[in-house]
């Protein structure tokens, strides 16, 4: 899955906005939204929040976890523990990116938040590389990957699975009577 597709999924996540317009409840295929009243917070999917923000029709309220103090804790925990710690959102990275790109003016200390999330991400990706390395080395048949987010899996996943497939092919070709056979095409 490409990063743009993971981002697409992240855009389905809800976010709270404060609209500056009025609109009755709206019945979308995926569910109901609104009603929208100026100054009153309302939840919408991120894709809509960003679009309304681009049209200057709302202000975005960052999710609770998008806070310097909370993110510092998360970063420290991630650095101190050997395993992957649970993230505040399954799309924390994309959420941060999208919110900071389109609504930075609505997010206090945007730059610090960007750095904290990036640090956490880097720590996790480093752990992921190490785990992938040991997985391949020990020729494991199964790994548990709790708390990894879709974006993290997709950063390393396709490369890892392809590498594993290649190694498997090489190995089965080496074994006498292995089932791998060349294809005519």
């Amino acid at each position: 899955m490409e990063a743009s597709e993971v981002e697409f999924l992240a855009e389905q996540e809800p976010v709270t906005i404060i609209p500056n317009f009025s609109l009755d409840r709206i019945y979308l295929i995926g569910g109901d939204l609104g009603p929208f009243n100026p100054g009153l917070p309302v939840q919408v999917p991120l894709w809509l929040a960003i679009n309304l923000k681009q049209r200057q029709k709302c202000r975005l309220i960052p999710p609770e976890w998008m806070d310097v103090e909370k993110l510092e804790q998360i970063r420290e925990q991630e650095r101190n523990e050997a395993t992957f710690t649970p993230m505040p959102s399954p799309y924390y990275m994309e959420f941060t990116k999208l919110l900071l790109n389109y609504a930075a003016d609505n997010i206090p200390k945007a730059d610090e938040i960007r750095t904290l999330v990036k640090d956490t991400w880097d720590t996790r990706i480093a752990k992921l590389r190490l785990s992938a390395d040991s997985f391949v080395r020990q020729q494991e048949a199964h790994a548990r990957l709790d708390n990894l987010t879709l974006m993290e899996i997709n950063t390393t996943g396709p490369f890892l699975t392809q590498a594993l497939d290649h190694m498997y092919k090489l190995r089965t070709n080496l074994q006498p009577g292995g089932s791998a056979q060349s294809q005519d095409f």
Binding site: S4, E5, E7, F8, N51, Q54, D184, F185
Partner: protein, 195 residues
């Protein structure tokens, strides 16, 4: 050396980068088929000899047979790989191919392409009640409703979803629904202007 021509066909495709369609090597195919005919005829006569006692011919027969199989494998791989590339063109350019691409294809490949186009169109039309669903559109996840595009060529009138038409003239700039212009961007008629 046996199979040299056949291997050359494979190399030819291998050298063309992904998705590129080099021109159809009719001569190469003909030469491989001729080599196969010769190998087969030699084997035919040697098999008769071998049957009448010349068993020392058997390894040669086997070798020729392997060469025949390898030749066949290479020819089929060459043809099949080209079909895969031609198939991709349908998704890239739409149902009308640019002449430059079309000239690279053999007459049989054009036939295959037309039939593929037809099958795909029938399938896409069958999706839903109305005009069907064009699966060659919506390739990328939608980002925003409208994007800014610049026209690189004179294209003519273009209908937008809401029923209005606009004139796509070279160097004109428009704010269009993204899903409407995806294919025109891929065809090089429009260019996405990144702000």
């Amino acid at each position: 050396m046996f199979c040299e021509k056949a291997t050359e066909l494979i190399r030819e495709l291998h050298r063309a980068s992904d998705g590129q369609l080099p021109s159809y090597n009719e001569d190469g195919i003909r030469q491989v088929l001729e080599e196969m005919k010769a190998l087969y005829e030699q084997n035919q006569s040697d098999v008769n000899e071998a049957k009448s006692g010349h068993s020392e011919l058997i390894p040669t027969i086997k070798f020729r047979h392997c060469s025949l199989l390898r030749n066949r494998r290479c020819v089929l791989a060459y043809l099949y790989d080209r079909l895969l590339r031609i198939r991709a063109l349908r998704w890239e350019y739409g149902s009308v191919l640019p002449n430059a691409v079309r000239f690279q294809m053999s007459a049989d490949e054009v036939l295959w392409f037309n039939q593929y186009k037809k099958s795909l169109a029938t399938y896409m039309r069958s999706l839903g009640g109305g005009d069907g669903l064009d699966l060659t559109q919506d390739i990328k996840p939608p980002k925003s409703l409208y994007i800014e595009v610049r026209c690189l060529k004179d294209y003519g009138e273009f209908e937008i979803d809401d029923g209005t038409t606009i004139l796509l003239k070279k160097n004109s700039q428009h704010f269009l629904p993204r899903w409407k212009c995806e294919q025109l961007i891929r065809q090089g008629i429009l260019e996405h202007v990144l702000s």
